[in-house]
Symmetry: C2
Subunit: 123 residues, 2 copies
DNA sequence: TCGTATCGATTACGTCTGTAGTCGGAGAAT
DNA sequence: ATTCTCCGACTACAGACGTAATCGATACGA
């Protein structure tokens, strides 16, 4: 619901917390993927901003904080997918599908899987 | 190819130029959708930034410039779709499809259309 | 020819983002 | 009790973004 945008850097933090939570700031820093080699202060700044955006929450445990997501990954993913579809495809999903299909981004396995999903949905 | 990001505001300008080009800055301003009620200087700033990003180009015609896209809408759309899929779905399209399917974002008409597309692709 | 409207360029400025340093307080070690 | 260390909070700062004013040159109307 809280519709502040989550930036790319912030998303990297969210991914860590979605995988495991609650975690301390130090824990989060330790779990950063290799290509995101941030200093601890940077991680803390990002955590503060996510707190301000109400995307995460923290609970004091003695002297330190444990952070956990407030918004679910699924909600976020839905929100962002919708944003893309709204921005580029007039809010309709089909043009995105058609576009990707045209771009040959679908493997044979994908196609089989999609057919299976469609069958399920029809029942 | 030129991979500078196009911002939301800039995208509104691109959409106008994709629909019709070349246009002067004043033309572009006149075609803004109602909810984007920008001043002419704002439009010109955005055009300059798009020029700097090499997303558009301009040609002098006497005292004024005519602006036209350098990147195609399809290329942009492909790029942004890929970006979303990379960011949120590990670079694979299927999870996006499955996600949207779960969210019931597909109408019956969509499903029929998708089946048709799949048939086409298989041949 | 002289003002005036116009155009592109330059400058402005607050917010957001990416990245990080510093400070003050609370625990831990001695 | 005193020092050292670690934590969260605050501050910093450059670049991008949204939005716009101003300036200098130019062309058109009078």
């Amino acid at each position: 619901m809280s519709s502040e945008r989550i930036s790319d850097a912030e998303l990297a933090i969210m991914e860590i917390l979605w995988e495991q939570a609650p975690l301390t700031a130090t824990d989060v820093a330790a779990r950063l993927p290799d290509e995101r080699d941030w200093s601890l202060p940077t991680v803390k700044t990002l955590l503060s901003r996510l707190l301000a955006k109400e995307a995460i929450e923290h609970r004091a445990e003695g002297r330190r904080f444990f952070y956990a997501p407030r918004i679910g990954r699924d909600d976020y993913v839905t929100h962002e997918s919708k944003r893309l579809v709204d921005r580029l495809f007039g809010g309709r999903f089909m043009p995105l599908f058609a576009h990707l299909a045209e771009q040959d981004k679908l493997s044979d396995a994908d196609i089989t899987e999609i057919e299976r999903l469609l069958q399920e949905m029809k029942s």
